[in-house]
């Protein structure tokens, strides 16, 4: 009787969430897509207007149409695609190593008090340091090769990843830790079941920032140092500059931009999934 009443009373908030109007998924995609398309169109228009204004001759600043034509031409060129592949492989491999190192370092600093005192602030300092500043040193240490590139990519990304994890671990609600301990989770179990999952939203932020740093460092490294004989994206930019081929330059910049946006979108999906699962954002 009374408990039935309870069920009735307490179903109310749940029923409310259920009753929220659901739109068609297609409409949802469109509503998030059209402002972006409009922005791209606006950007292209502005670009075209500048070209039409005659500020620079066509061969210095080509319009969007010839650049996009050049891009489609480039994309059918196997060497160009191979170059994108080389750069992406470096980015992903370097990033993966950075994630591994950053996570381990982050956990160690969170766990070991002495280590935190010693290098906690150094991690923050490294985060704000442009890792490309290390590149000349890396070249002298490792030679002009991929190892030097990986060095700056990892040095760019790992501190942000470690910082994100550390920040997450530091800001776990103390009450959740107490609950974990009451349930008998100590030491590693507490980390596995309570602290690390609780730190995941902040860690995801660190992963995203780490990717941005990795990608930037990689581009800078590839442009400054021609490594091996592979036509990486950065190297092609450098060649395009040497030949004053601005059409090609702009085509490559479009490629870099699109890769950046695509991967940022992936992180966005990941982040949204975590926030939804953790009940963040929607309520508070």
């Amino acid at each position: 009787m009374a408990t039935e009443l309870a069920a009735k009373l307490e179903v109310v908030p749940a029923a409310e969430t259920e009753a929220a109007p659901r739109r068609l998924p297609l409409a949802g995609i469109w509503s998030s897509l059209w402002p972006k398309l409009a922005a791209i169109l606006l950007g292209l228009t502005a670009w075209q207007l500048i070209v039409w204004s005659g500020w620079k001759p066509d061969y210095v600043l080509p319009g969007p149409l010839p650049v996009l034509q050049r891009l489609t031409q480039d994309l059918t060129n196997p060497d160009f695609d191979l170059g994108i592949g080389v750069t992406l492989r470096r980015a992903l491999l370097g990033y993966a190593i950075a994630v591994a190192i950053g996570s381990v370092v982050g956990i160690l600093i969170a766990r070991v008090r002495l280590l935190r005192k010693a290098v906690g602030s150094a991690i923050l300092g490294l985060q704000s340091m442009p890792s490309i500043a290390w590149f000349p040193l890396a070249i002298l240490l490792f030679g002009l090769n991929e190892t030097a590139i990986f060095f700056v990519v990892i040095l760019g990304a790992a501190p942000a990843i470690a910082g994100g994890l550390l920040n997450g671990v530091d800001h776990v609600q103390p009450l959740l830790i107490r609950v974990g301990r009451v349930m008998g989770a100590r030491g590693l179990l507490l980390y596995r079941f309570v602290i690390l999952p609780a730190a995941l939203p902040s860690f995801a932020g660190g992963l995203k920032q780490g990717w941005a740093f990795a990608w930037r460092s990689l581009m800078a490294g590839e442009i400054i140092g021609i490594v091996g004989h592979q036509l990486s994206i950065g190297q092609q930019i450098q060649f395009a500059r040497d030949f004053a081929d601005t059409e090609q330059l702009l085509a490559i910049i479009v490629v870099i931009f699109v890769i950046g946006v695509a991967i940022d979108g992936l992180f966005g999906v990941f982040d949204a999934a975590i926030r939804r699962r953790w009940g963040l954002g929607g309520e508070a």
Partner: protein
Amino acid sequence: MSNNLLELSDKHALSVDRLTVAFPHGDRLLIALQGATLEIKRGELVCIVGASGSGKSTLLNVLAGLDRPSAGRAHVHGRVALMFQEAALLPWLTAAANVELALELRGVRGSHRRELARELLRRVHLTGFERRRPHELSGGMKQRVALARALAQDADVLLMDEPFGALDAITRDLLHEELERIWAESGLTILFVTHNAREAVRLGDRVLVFTSRPGRVGHEVKVDLPRPRHLDSPDLAVIAGRITDRLKQEMTIHGD
């Protein structure tokens, strides 16, 4: 209290003997509990009332192993579970998964966990809500999940730290009934902390009134009213009134 509490008998689920707990507070020591002594028999439901600052929560934390005694002893015979005023569910887990985690940490094998969690959620009337996440549940439902999770620990003693303090009156009333039913079914020993004298008399076999700053057991009130009791019954109100008077006295003595 002069009886020798160190002679622990099998009948006791927990015993606290001259327990003192102090925390460093700036450059001074803050004494939360001083010489608190109490015993609770197996299967008893005992409530503690006290003003804020009477060390009630500290007592539970020591019994749960979260804080250390500065002097004296606190001993629980068997396993302990602790419920807080906030449900403190892990927000990334569903209701069922929260309960299952407690089972997993207790060492229950994988294949049994799901079944057992369902059964525990049924006991707190949450059938059909297994897959909801905490942010999709009302305050009362969250506390029910927290209760199911505490039961999942299969503890001998359940410590409850103002668990229904943040709920509305009707929900609280219903949870009193459910807690009483579960207590009667399970034979659990429950130590229930509240600042609400009526709630204490509604639930407790005994009510211990804590003094303030530093906390210890000031008075003990036996509640002989038959169960189930009603929160609004006159008999209950009379006893609660006496306890409230004690609490007020206590607070004026200490100038709070």
